[in-house]
Symmetry: C2
Subunit: 185 residues, 2 copies
């Protein structure tokens, strides 16, 4: 598994019967290589919210999935170039997210009153004339098992951070106490 | 929800086709009071493993459940006295867990080769003559949703710990730097 992208981006979240809100969503893109039983590459797109442990939307795009996506959305690139092109679009949104009128923005829209079931994640350009949809991916909300697995990974990394902080605190105390007792001599 | 007990205890884990092992299991007992729609009290017993985020066994005992448990296991106490009696037994096991031949010990046994499905959690006394079963509760393994909810709570507390450590580190650095610069003057 190779991580290609991992950033917190501003996303406009829209769902039926609820007001549009702006949320900070972590977007992760991983490339998963499987060699057995057959050689295949899958692009995994994941949306999470550092402030909400239950927020998880997923999409896995295989080379076959990409072919239908390509036809459906009129893309002119192949699977190998797709990740970088997608990342370029995300970075465009990232570079404009502090602006009051961003030209590129990200949209997450669900069909239900809460974000459940299929949800589309889109890169939208707004010009003087209209909204242009550059890419729209259909994500599904993480199942209980997927959220569980994601949270287990979060816990492992939080525990590692805690351990590192404890070690740094101990070292800082020791270093400064040593310097202090030396200075006081 | 009132927490009555929360300790890491040594438990002998046995399952079919696997060697018995000794594990450090966190045992939590909570009393849950519900007033609406009807007034009821439930005792929630939970086993978790700080080292394994997926390990979760649960049991909820209502007053009605307790009546059948009482008959089944020949208990002589009522529901109100049960939690304290159970805690006394757990503390007995806790006080003996460093001993080579503990008189009281905890056992978790599953029927399958891995701990899945119904699992019994027992307080067993071993005397010269036999093993005496003081109490045996039938726990079920946490569902994906239950594990997910449990992990979300763990994450919140790990994040709070991280924040406290970061604050402490910052304060330690500031305090000692101030003392150091004062001593060096």
């Amino acid at each position: 598994m190779e991580e290609l992208f991992n950033k917190v981006l501003q996303v406009n979240v829209r769902c039926r019967d609820c007001e549009e809100r702006r949320a900070n969503i972590r977007v992760t893109i991983d490339l998963q290589l499987t060699t057995s039983p057959i050689h295949k590459r899958d692009l995994l797109v994941r949306l999470t919210d550092d402030a909400d442990p239950y927020f998880l939307f997923n999409l896995s795009i295989s080379e076959e999935d990409f072919q239908s996506l390509k036809v459906q959305q009129g893309l002119l690139i192949d699977f190998a170039s797709f990740p970088q092109k997608f990342i370029d679009l995300l970075n465009l949104c990232y570079s404009e997210q502090e602006s009051d009128h961003p030209r590129f923005l990200l949209q997450l829209s669900g069909q239900n009153s809460v974000l459940e079931g299929p949800t589309s994640f889109s890169v939208v350009e707004t010009n003087a004339f209209k909204h242009l949809n550059h890419l729209s991916l259909r994500l599904t909300q993480g199942s209980d098992k997927e959220v569980k697995d994601y949270l287990a990974v979060c816990i492992a990394s939080l525990k590692a951070e805690r351990q590192a902080l404890e070690a740094k605190l101990k070292k800082t105390e020791e270093d400064l106490s040593r310097q202090l007792s030396y200075a006081q001599q």
